[in-house]
């Protein structure tokens, strides 16, 4: 009995020492950590940036920490995440305050041409002869017009009312879309339904489109869903100012998506931040195209990143200094 205890103690000790040494050796590797708030456009950015970090800036590996929008934002402030390539500034209530207080470093704008708002599949308005779908809401053009069609978008839980899929709870835009729903008096015969998560919202749209059913709900660009399906953005009053936008009275202006790095990382590797992150700029259309490529060809994010850099070769010159761009081209 005693010898067994002794033997196992020695064994455990050995394993501990061994893992300690292995742990020490991996420590020395240079790793860069990106934020992944959980959607695919940012994963694509991470693949592109990770490739560049490894092949032009001498990193050994990169990884991403997955979380929600606020969690990855907090992670960047805490320095647990080095680089955040898609900060949805309007969806983070404290973003401006955090940036101005110097809690993290905003490097540049990734894209600022994206649309968001209430969408319906095109066949709801125009019908689709090839699938035998008749237009169920032919006069639907604006958000206000929805009031005419509660029965088209019937809520399965409360059949006397229609259902509008709202935004993901916790996103700043959720409050705005809810205000809009009240502002246009849609609360009279519609229910503002919070889908709970972006996966659930995407499933609601794909399932409705598969079945040819009518659906109206919040969605945003750039996403694979937008790249893959033909959705129509319902029109709204033109944008005037921040206040009336927050009250839901006007259309959503394009959200500025910035790139940001943690203070600790900026001190550690200013070259990567200033040369690359600050210049990293894409567009909503470009990313939607890439995401649709990914979905259509069943490609991984890594493969799509390579495809993007090869197809739009000139982007490398915009993002990187000449010598670094050459290094990336060589690796491609």
């Amino acid at each position: 009995m005693k010898s067994i205890t002794k033997g196992s103690l020695i064994f455990i000790g050995l394993i501990l020492t061994l893992s300690f040494f292995i742990g020490c050796t991996t420590e020395e590797k240079k790793t860069i950590i990106f934020a992944d708030p959980g959607w695919d456009s940012v994963q694509l950015h991470n693949e592109v940036a990770g490739f560049i970090a490894i092949h032009a800036y001498g990193y050994d590996s990169w990884q991403q920490i997955t979380g929600t929008t606020p969690i990855t934002h907090e992670g960047t402030i805490k320095g647990e995440i080095d680089v955040h390539l898609e900060e949805w500034t309007d969806n983070i209530a404290s973003y401006t305050a955090d940036r101005d207080a110097g809690k993290l470093k905003e490097m540049g704008v990734n894209f600022d041409d994206n649309m968001q708002g209430f969408y319906v599949p095109r066949y709801v308005i125009e019908g689709d002869a090839s699938r035998g779908i008749e237009a169920s809401a032919p006069n639907l053009k604006t958000v206000q017009d929805l009031a005419l069609y509660p029965d088209v978008f019937q809520d399965p839980e409360n059949k006397t009312k229609g259902r509008i899929y709202g935004s993901i709870p916790g996103w700043e835009i959720d409050t705005i879309m809810f205000n809009k729903y009240e502002y246009y008096g849609l609360d009279e015969n519609f229910i503002y339904f919070r889908p709970g998560s972006d996966a659930a919202l995407a499933a609601a749209f794909t399932s409705a489109i598969d079945k040819g059913q009518a659906i109206v709900g919040y969605y945003w660009e750039p996403t694979w869903l937008m790249g893959l399906y033909d959705l129509v953005l319902l029109e709204d009053a033109p944008y005037i100012d921040e206040e009336s936008y927050m009250a839901g009275k006007t259309e959503c202006p394009a959200v500025v998506c910035t790139t940001a790095v943690s203070n600790a990382f900026y001190e550690k590797d200013p070259a990567f931040c200033n040369e690359f992150v600050a210049n990293y700029k894409t567009s909503s259309a470009l990313i939607s195209e890439a995401l649709a490529y990914m979905s259509n060809n069943n490609a991984s994010a890594a493969e799509t990143a390579l495809w993007l850099m090869k197809t739009y070769d000139n982007l490398l010159d915009l993002w990187l200094p000449e010598d670094k761009a050459a290094l990336v081209r060589q690796a491609l």
Partner: protein, 288 residues
């Protein structure tokens, strides 16, 4: 040497084919699944409006009596009633009723299918052997794996929430019903048979009453596991206390999340103690 360290070969599984098969299935049998969805929505809506009709003071009074009678202590009844009152004071009464209607619907369905299945498994060893890995799968399969496909079939909202909750929470009632009946003394069963009872009579008049305490523990566990699914189900759009927690957490509004979380805990503890009290009562009655 590389094959000694890295796994030497892989088979590529066509995952895309699984995707399209599931989606095609959901489109093809849409009418069938829609019928189930409306049935479930009817059940949940019915329970919800029933809970809504009960005035708040009557509800608290009922909790008081249930707590008092089931545990046999006046003190407990008062404590439970106060705890539920706290939820109302925090402004979460309506959300609590919504959550309760989902849980009650899931528990009713779990008992409706779970009790007969448990009794069945107790009779046949072979069935028990087949059922075991299935029950294990239902309990350990990560919820999101079937939560998102459930959306394709049942839409978003309370109906898929009840289905996901049932899949997870039905297991203990099946297991403990089967276990309880198997644990009844062989001699008691033989005595019943010696007096000329048929198999069904033995089951209904001897085995099930003897197993009552264990079965009630199963019911209690099912209820608790249904409570544990509340927040998860809010991620597919089931409104109620879980959605309040989710919104608090997503916005880093710690206070909001904490208060809704405490309400979930209070609700769980009160329901647990009351059903446990009933289970223990069954135990003492069984011994007499």
């Amino acid at each position: 040497m590389k094959w000694l360290i890295d796994f030497p070969f892989e088979i590529t599984i066509n995952k895309k084919a699984i995707d399209s098969a599931v989606r095609a299935f959901s489109v093809k049998h849409d009418a069938f699944f829609s019928a189930i969805t409306s049935g479930l929505n009817g059940l949940i809506g019915g329970i919800h409006s029933l809970l809504n009709i009960i005035p708040w003071w009557l509800f608290i009074l009922a909790i008081f009596f249930a707590g008092w009678k089931s545990t046999g202590k006046l003190k407990n009844g008062i404590f439970f009633a106060l705890a539920i009152t706290v939820i109302g004071i925090a402004g979460l009464w309506a959300l609590m009723l919504e959550t309760l209607s989902i849980i009650i619907a899931a528990v009713i369905i779990s008992l409706f299918f779970g009790l007969p299945l448990g009794i069945l498994l107790a009779q046949f060893d072979r069935a028990e052997k087949i059922a075991r890995p299935v029950l294990d799968t239902m309990q350990t399969m990560p919820v999101f794996v079937y939560l998102i496909p459930a959306l394709l079939f049942f839409g978003l909202g309370k109906a898929p929430a009840v289905i996901a909750t049932t899949i997870y929470a039905i297991v203990p009632v099946i297991r403990l019903t089967s276990l309880g009946i198997r644990q009844v003394d062989k001699e008691v069963v033989e005595a019943a048979k010696a007096f000329g009872s048929t198999g069904v009579q033995t089951l209904i008049k001897v085995q099930i009453p003897q197993a009552k305490a264990t079965i009630m523990t199963g019911v209690n566990q099912t209820l608790m596991m249904a409570m544990a699914m509340v927040v998860t189900c809010s991620m597919i759009g089931a409104s109620g206390l879980g959605m309040e927690v989710l919104m608090g957490v997503q916005r880093i509004e710690i206070g909001r999340g904490l208060i809704a979380g405490i309400a979930v805990v209070i609700l769980a503890i009160v329901l647990d103690r009351i059903t446990q009290g009933i289970a223990e009562k069954g135990q003492t009655n069984g011994k007499q």
